[in-house]
Symmetry: C2
Subunit: 193 residues, 2 copies
């Protein structure tokens, strides 16, 4: 997706060989027009698939997930990292380690919102080692729902997540695939568009 | 906003005299079409005002904030509750107590994304005692930017937040104003549409 790649090149900041900062348009400040285009692009890639819900993880996945759900005319659900007084249903939970935050979180979804037979499109902002995606898959499978696909805004292809997910036969569509962040430079992998 | 009020009546759950659970369409599962309409409604209410950025707080404010920012053709920024390895700029921070989570958080925004002279529309999902809105105002004022207005999806008018903000001459627009949650029943206040 050229619009996204150009945005990464113009506004992304390479902090190290494996950390790309995209706080200007995705992770802290959000470019709403870009989110609209990301939603359309995920729809175009998965429109041949049955999708009944979009699932993401708070917080940076919410904007792309909602824009994608809008195109499919289905609800979006975000897994929560923390408890709340209003979070009183039976929960589906899984552990996820965040490299950028250096902590392990238990993420949870109310069992009310993922039902047996649901066809779930998982959306996330980044795919690195596949920790978050793996936890979301775990939750979907606990609910006896199906993972229809996994849509990633930025895949760091030099880390193991994409390969692990594809090996398990999940369909992964990444809008920008980064081959390397070496020398403070973003190098994209061959596009899968 | 009738669409929202009907949604609250049909899908909201009154947990106690001051807690309304709206996990089915706003706080955990998100209705994307409703978010589109909320974005249009905030635009219609604040369109006479100069807005250069929309500011919210993760996580439940993100969807309405992004849809609102889209209508104003400006970026959305969400204050973060936690640190991240990629969160390396100088930060504007303020404390906020969450009643529903029973904890005090330090929320932060990179000083890169709110600049002196910015005209900020603050958007949040709920207004109760005004803790979150107060912390966001504090951050905007630290940055020497202006608060152009405060847009709230659901105001609990029987708590003190709205009155406190209006007393300080902030312009508050709430899309649904709840007068009471007594007897497990939602009673709306007179509409300010």
């Amino acid at each position: 997706m050229d619009l996204l790649k150009n945005k990464i090149l113009s506004e992304g900041v390479v902090l190290s060989d494996n950390v790309l900062k995209v706080d200007k348009f995705l992770n802290h400040q959000i470019d709403p027009e870009l989110m609209v285009e990301i939603g359309k692009e995920f729809h175009s890639r998965f429109k041949d698939t049955e999708i009944t819900k979009v699932l993401t993880l708070e917080s940076s996945g919410i904007a792309p997930a909602v824009m994608t759900a809008l195109n499919f005319n289905v609800p979006a659900v975000f897994a929560r990292k923390r408890k709340s007084l209003t979070f009183t249903d039976d929960l589906l939970s899984a552990q996820v380690f965040s490299y950028t935050k250096q902590e392990t979180n238990m993420i949870s979804v109310s069992n009310q919102f993922i039902q047996p037979g649901d066809n779930i499109l998982i959306i996330d902002d980044f795919l690195a080692n596949g920790e978050a995606a793996g936890a979301l898959i775990n939750i979907v499978e606990q609910a006896k729902a199906n993972v229809s696909g996994i849509g990633i805004v930025i895949e760091k292809s030099f880390q193991s997540g994409a390969a692990i997910l594809k090996e398990k036969n999940y369909r992964v569509e990444s809008l920008a695939r980064i081959e390397s962040l070496s020398n403070h430079t973003v190098t994209f992998a061959g596009d899968n568009e």
